[in-house]
């Protein structure tokens, strides 16, 4: 039973990771931008929802607003931070440091306006009940599974049907060539940021509801997303999602065998092991020489 219980909490955690990781993976896969401010998107979405919820706004409106702010932030990053840097041929690390600076600023802004502590949205959805003998499950688990499934289905369908997925892959390989094909690489970049940023919104709301968020949470979100993106294989959306799920489950199950303080490090050991023994990840293509 302990195993099942841990599996359930692993899936719950894993879904949050999967959603954030998929967003990061999509952006990184398509634009080769190491979007370390992804964690900031998460915080912005989470706090938007929380603050509106506190004001008594009906949850669908709050959710919509969270989508709006998250997407607006992501697109603003693409247009006003990453684009100028890339236009002047800034290196990988220039982008990295710039994005990190934004994360720091966003974190302190949120602290300034909304306080530094952790905030939670209380709902009865998170109360666990004994569903099976000795197995305690909260309704939020079912809700998040359904939401994640629907969200992923929508994204995958959109990318496939509209050829957008193909465009994003091409963008990742050579944006200049994309222009030679007569496609607008700027629009595709924005598209990647829109979808990628939108993907974290459900994760942010679930976190606000089930764990609670604080201005400093963004960091960890970013790290896990990054790890999952690599484990899943760069450029693979479903890889990142699966890896996120896997990391969540591993992190939970592993405490049956190791001391609890190691559980977080285990995710990164998994990452390390993947890089050493299967560097192209679960679904990725071989690393190019």
């Amino acid at each position: 039973m302990l195993f099942l219980q841990l599996l359930a909490s692993g899936i719950q955690t894993g879904i949050l990771y999967a959603l954030t990781a998929a967003g990061f993976a999509l952006i990184f896969g398509a634009t080769k931008i190491f979007h370390v401010a992804h964690g900031a998107t998460f915080i912005i979405a989470g706090y938007t929802y929380y603050e509106l919820h506190q004001l008594g706004v009906w949850w669908p409106w709050a959710t919509l607003a969270a989508f709006a702010t998250a997407i607006a932030f992501g697109v603003a990053m693409a247009l006003y931070v990453y684009r100028p840097i890339q236009r002047s041929e800034g290196s990988f690390f220039t982008v990295f440091v710039a994005a990190f600076g934004v994360s720091i600023s966003v974190q302190s802004l949120v602290q300034y306006f909304f306080g530094r502590g952790s905030v939670t949205v209380s709902t009865p959805l998170t109360m666990a009940r004994e569903t099976l003998p000795d197995l305690y499950l909260a309704p939020i688990l079912a809700v998040s599974i359904v939401v994640a499934a629907v969200v992923f289905a929508c994204v995958v369908l959109f990318l496939d049907r509209r050829n957008a997925g193909l465009g994003l892959r091409a963008l990742s390989e050579n944006p200049a060539l994309l222009e030679s094909f007569g496609l607008d690489s700027r629009r595709l970049t924005i598209l990647a940021f829109v979808i990628g940023s939108a993907l974290v919104v459900p994760a942010a709301i679930f976190t606000a509801v089930s764990i609670g968020i604080q201005p400093a949470s963004g960091h960890r979100v970013m790290l896990i997303s990054l790890a999952a993106t690599i484990v899943g294989g760069i450029g693979s959306l479903r890889g990142a999602a699966l890896a996120g799920l896997l990391l969540g489950v591993v992190e939970n199950l592993v405490i049956t065998v190791v001391d609890t303080q190691w559980s977080e490090a285990v995710s990164f050991l998994v990452l390390f092991a993947f890089i050493m023994f299967r560097p192209h990840g679960i679904f990725g293509m071989a690393v190019k020489k």
């Binding site: 909490s9 530094r116 666990a128 004994e130 909260a138 949470s217």
Partner: protein
């Protein structure tokens, strides 16, 4: 004549909530000293941000010592205190900690004093009560730092004496936010009480919420940190028991009453022991300075220390405080949170 008081609190980062409360307490105390015309001179605060990290602490302390040239500094947080102590010690600055409770803070330096009872004292006080309540099975979630280790070793040492047993202990990293797997295991361990020992306020509130969400109704116990609103105001904290230094908010003792009333008025929140300690820490400075003024001595760290060691006891808010061996000894109490209000149960 004017005096300076240095503060070295985390003003940003995950523990900034604490820094804000500490600063408010200091401001309040200085206002009271001023209103009372307690001193000939005026005390001005020199705030520095410790970022809550050792390096921040070292840089901040160095700034307080070398730029602001304060003779007296209020500090907080274990890592910060440990990094700041040698710097203050070298420059002979009297440092007073009102927030960190790691047991190893007792012996940092002659110039480093704690105006807060350290965690081991709190656990010592709790254990007999557990015996009285016939509580046998105790589990703990702790952060493997001096605080957590101190609490853990006190529990291990004390529990057998009252017929109790530490059934399990889970060590976590200070920034862990997800406790569902630990909660799943705790459910299997079936303890009567779970003791939470973390230096990180946010983390404690995460643990409390997630334990309750996990459908676990075990009694939760923690130390004085539960005085922070983000813990005590959490809906899930209902029923939480915690030890703290004795602080009777309804007391009619004038210093205490003035502190409580003015705190509520100025900040619109309930006062906490942390606020109280830093309020007292600033008051103590006033008292020491007054002693020096009367003796006609300059306000240097060495003189302040001498004065503190000479007098050794002051009547601060909450009663008389005795200072010996770098630490204050105060009465302790056990509290329970009920409907968002903290009530004393012992």
């Amino acid at each position: 004549q004017s005096y300076t008081l240095g503060t070295l609190f985390p003003m940003s980062g995950p523990n900034a909530e604490a820094g804000a409360i500490y600063s408010n307490a200091v401001d309040l105390a200085l206002k009271h000293l001023e209103d009372d015309k307690w001193l000939k001179g005026k005390i001005s605060v020199k705030p520095t941000d410790s970022l809550g990290t050792p390096q921040g602490g070292a840089v901040g302390m160095s700034r307080l010592v070398n730029v602001e040239k304060v003779p007296y500094a209020l500090v907080g947080f274990t890592g910060v205190s440990k990094a700041a102590a040698p710097i203050g010690d070298r420059a002979k600055v009297l440092m007073v900690n009102g927030g960190a409770v790691g047991p190893d803070l007792a012996s940092l330096s002659r110039y480093f004093w704690n105006i807060i009872p350290l965690a081991n004292q709190e656990v010592e006080f709790l254990i007999p009560w557990l015996g009285e309540q016939k509580i046998k099975r105790i589990a703990t979630i702790y952060v493997d730092d001096p605080l957590g280790q101190g609490i853990l070793s006190e529990l291990k040492k004390g529990l057998p004496g009252v017929g109790g047993e530490l059934v399990s202990s889970y060590s976590v990293t200070p920034d862990l936010q997800q406790f569902s797997p630990i909660i799943a295991r705790l459910r299997n361990d079936n303890p009567e009480v779970i003791y939470i020992a973390s230096p990180n306020i946010t983390q404690i509130s995460h643990i409390i919420k997630q334990v309750r969400d996990g459908g676990l109704n075990t009694q939760l116990i923690t130390y004085g940190v539960a005085n922070f609103p983000s813990i005590s105001k959490l809906p899930e904290s209902d029923g939480l028991i915690f030890t703290s230094q004795a602080a009777d908010w309804a007391s009619s003792e004038p210093t205490m009453k003035r502190f409580v009333d003015d705190w509520r008025k100025a900040y619109g929140t309930e006062p906490t022991t942390y606020g109280l300690n830093y309020y007292n820490g600033a008051l103590l400075y006033g008292y020491l300075l007054r002693g020096l003024e009367q003796a006609g001595k300059p306000a240097t760290g060495a003189n302040l220390l001498e004065e503190l060691e000479r007098v050794g006891k002051y009547s601060l808010a909450g009663g008389e405080a005795r200072f010996r061996d770098s630490t204050v000894t105060t009465a302790m109490q056990i509290n329970r949170i009920k409907n968002g209000v903290t009530e004393k149960i012992k």
